[in-house]
């Protein structure tokens, strides 16, 4: 194309834009990146592709740091009267957003038919963290679930069947004992298991509680928590016993962010971590590895996690319409498949898995299917009013039990008492 032609076209486009000025819609969209540097460019490519298809809409996709940073940004901006129209925030932030009164339910902006075909098409496990009070507040997008990664070479070296993951709590202990290797001085050179406990141990712990037979740690309304049940106490006792009684895990708090490195370096033979690490581990592992479901006790169980799209109050009708349209487009099979493959997040809708790209990917990376299989056993992540505070209470008490400051029963009783006091205002 010649330069003259280009500028001519640009000029026409400019005229077209001014003449249809009333139709042009600007959207601001905050997104966090929780899986390393490349995901940001994938989101930017995604919004660019949408804008190419919809020249009337201009989306400013703002990378806003981690999930916590993004929530901070969104609430600060909303309180300052400058809310974005869209943001991806943790699914568990739902009650906080409702409590702040800064988000709108999606149901009001879609037709009856779409309620069924679009919102109804997401995995129910993901919707349990996205709906309350009979409304849908979040649209699942970058969702994850924890899985178990195991080092097949280490399994073979320990005389275990390299293709069999530990399926039960007892298996995990038994395998862990075989996999824990000590040198002559008695120092461990390879740990059997790593259950990271820095930052947000309550997430993985929810999986333990679920597999011990308890459905969720809170009710659907987000006003009650169940921390001191026998199932929850049993789960924490089991967790503490891994480093204590059984000595198959390193003592103290283990860092979340260093977990993939610990696995890749052979420091731990089995690790619990998010599916979001699949891409990283696949790219860097120098050994054969397997991906399995979290081990079961009474039943299999795992939490869901990750982020949803939220629609913010304070936008014009045109903006709301455009925002809803963009999210529908972004969660459509082709786009969701691209996103899932690029990041390792679990595709949130059944129809995504029917695309040829996704099927090819699943064939190439069987581990990706494990997360999908596990969704049928999944329970919602802990989510209540005053969510971050309640979760922090539980995190602190789990940490106290892990480092031996409190017994598991005492820690959970303390967490229950404190949480009850906070939630009393919402009951």
């Amino acid at each position: 194309m010649t330069n003259t032609l280009k500028s001519l076209l640009a000029g026409t486009a400019a005229i077209a834009l001014t003449s249809t000025g009333a139709l042009a819609v600007d959207l601001e969209f905050y997104f966090p990146v929780a899986v390393g540097g490349d995901a940001a460019s994938v989101i930017e490519d995604l919004t660019q592709a949408y804008m190419d298809e919809n020249p009337d809409v201009s989306i400013n996709a703002v990378y806003t740091g981690s999930y916590a940073d993004t929530t901070t940004r969104a609430i600060t901006a909303a309180r300052g009267g400058n809310a974005p129209q869209l943001a991806i925030l943790l699914s568990t932030d739902m009650f906080a957003m409702i409590d702040e009164d800064i988000v709108l339910p999606w149901d009001d902006f879609v037709s009856e038919e779409e309620l069924e075909s679009w919102i109804g098409g997401f995995y129910p496990a993901f919707m349990r963290n996205s709906q309350t009070e009979g409304k849908t507040w979040g649209i699942p997008f970058q969702r994850s679930t924890p899985v178990l990664f195991w080092n097949k070479d280490a399994f073979a070296a320990a005389g275990l069947d390299a293709d069999v993951a530990p399926e039960t709590w007892d298996d995990l202990v038994e395998f862990g004992k075989a996999l824990t290797i000590r040198d002559d001085a008695g120092n461990v050179t390879q740990w059997g298991v790593r259950f990271p406990s820095s930052g947000f141990p309550s997430w993985l712990y929810t999986g333990l509680v679920a597999s011990n037979g308890q459905d969720a740690l809170a009710n659907e309304a987000g006003t009650e928590v169940y921390f001191n049940t026998p199932e929850a106490v049993g789960a924490l006792e089991y967790l503490v016993s891994l480093a204590g009684e059984h000595e198959i895990m390193a003592p103290g708090i283990l860092d979340w962010g260093a977990t993939p490195r610990a696995f890749l370096d052979g420091e731990s033979a089995i690790v619990w971590t998010t599916t979001g690490n699949l891409t990283n581990i696949r790219a860097n592992a120098t050994f054969d590895f397997g991906v399995g479901m979290l081990p079961a006790n009474v039943r299999p169980g795992a939490p869901t996690g990750g982020g949803n799209f939220y629609l913010f109050d304070g936008a014009s009708d045109e903006q709301l319409e455009a925002a809803v349209d963009f999210v529908k487009w972004a969660t459509a099979p082709e786009q969701a498949a691209d996103w899932s493959i690029a990041t390792g997040y679990v595709a949130p809708r059944e129809d995504t898995w029917d695309t040829t790209r996704m099927q090819e990917y699943a064939q190439e990376v069987p581990g990706a299917l494990v997360a999908r299989e596990q969704l049928q056993y999944a329970v919602p992540e802990l989510s209540t009013f005053e969510g971050p505070r309640i979760t922090q209470l539980l995190n602190d008490n789990i940490a106290a039990a892990i480092v031996g400051d409190k017994t598991p029963a005492q820690a959970l009783a303390d967490a229950q008492t404190a949480a009850d006091a906070i939630l009393a205002a919402y009951q």
């Binding site: 940073d69 260093a258 690490n277």
Partner: protein, 278 residues
């Protein structure tokens, strides 16, 4: 006798301890940088293994460079620290001069109010300040990152102290020669306060070079974001920490300053010394 006589220049055990101490401390201090260099130039498998024969690579730099527009972030940070420092020097010199040389009603109360800002850090007041920026229409501008720091209580305090040590006779002489107050400030006070300004400048630049939370909140585009916010993209730990990329990004952004210091450290420290900062 020459001035270069040193009583302990011979091979003495305490001199040896002195040198060993200096080197030990330096090696500890440079360890994070050494690790950053090691990790950035090797494949990620060597993040935790230190073997001499590890293969070298530039891939980490390439990935870090592609992941974010660091050149732009670097420019933004440079603009930010220059703007903040210039504004601080101008505004705070004027205010300090008024406090040091004028008598006016409410002087002590106003000075006490200035001192409060030494302690009440703008970082803590960010919800309120965000709302103010919104009212001013300054959200997502480099100006907004710097504005709350322009009037620095610390700078006013330091400059006032320095100005007070300048003999009054100098004022009178200049005034007699028909010098205006501004002229006096510019020709006499500011040159004499250069050491203080240099010391304060270092504190200011280092603070704003590293400031994180406020810029994170107030910026939302590539054109305004400073380095720290750009770097934090790699520091999110919801998934694994990739040290090789983090260190490569850190080196890219710090290299200009580090190399600058290495090349010009003699001149830098000497000019600092010649200015006689105390």
């Amino acid at each position: 006798m020459t001035t270069h006589v040193r009583p302990h220049s011979a091979f003495q055990p305490d001199r040896l301890l002195f040198v060993i101490g200096a080197w030990l401390l330096a090696l500890i201090w440079i360890l994070p940088l050494a690790y950053a260099i090691w990790t950035a130039f090797h494949p990620s498998a060597y993040e935790t293994r230190f073997t001499l024969l590890a293969p070298l690579t530039l891939e980490n730099f390439q990935r870090a460079w592609n992941a974010a527009p660091f050149a732009r972030y670097f420019l933004n940070t440079i603009l930010l620290v220059t703007m903040v420092l210039t504004a601080q020097i101008v505004l705070c010199s004027l205010a300090a001069f008024a406090f040091a040389r004028f008598e006016f009603p409410g002087k002590n109360i106003l000075f006490a109010l200035v001192l409060i800002q030494l302690l009440v850090m703008p970082d803590v007041l960010l919800v309120r300040n965000y709302a103010t920026m919104r009212t001013l229409g300054l959200v997502d501008t480099i100006l907004a990152i710097g504005l709350p720091y322009f009037a620095s209580g610390f700078a006013i305090f330091l400059l006032r102290q320095t100005f007070k040590t300048i003999p009054r006779e100098l004022d009178d002489a200049a005034r007699v020669e028909g010098c205006s107050w501004l002229g006096l400030l510019w020709r006499v006070y500011i040159p004499l306060a250069r050491p203080t300004m240099l010391a304060f400048g270092l504190v200011s630049v280092s603070h704003h070079w590293n400031n994180f939370i406020w810029p994170l909140i107030i910026t939302s585009s590539v054109e305004t974001r400073p380095l720290t916010v750009g770097l934090s993209i790699f520091a999110t730990t919801d998934s694994g920490i990739e040290w090789s990329i983090i260190t490569a990004a850190t080196l890219i952004t710090s290299a200009p300053l580090l190399i600058g210091f290495l090349l010009f450290q003699r001149q830098f420290v000497q000019s600092f010394m010649r200015a006689g900062v105390k």
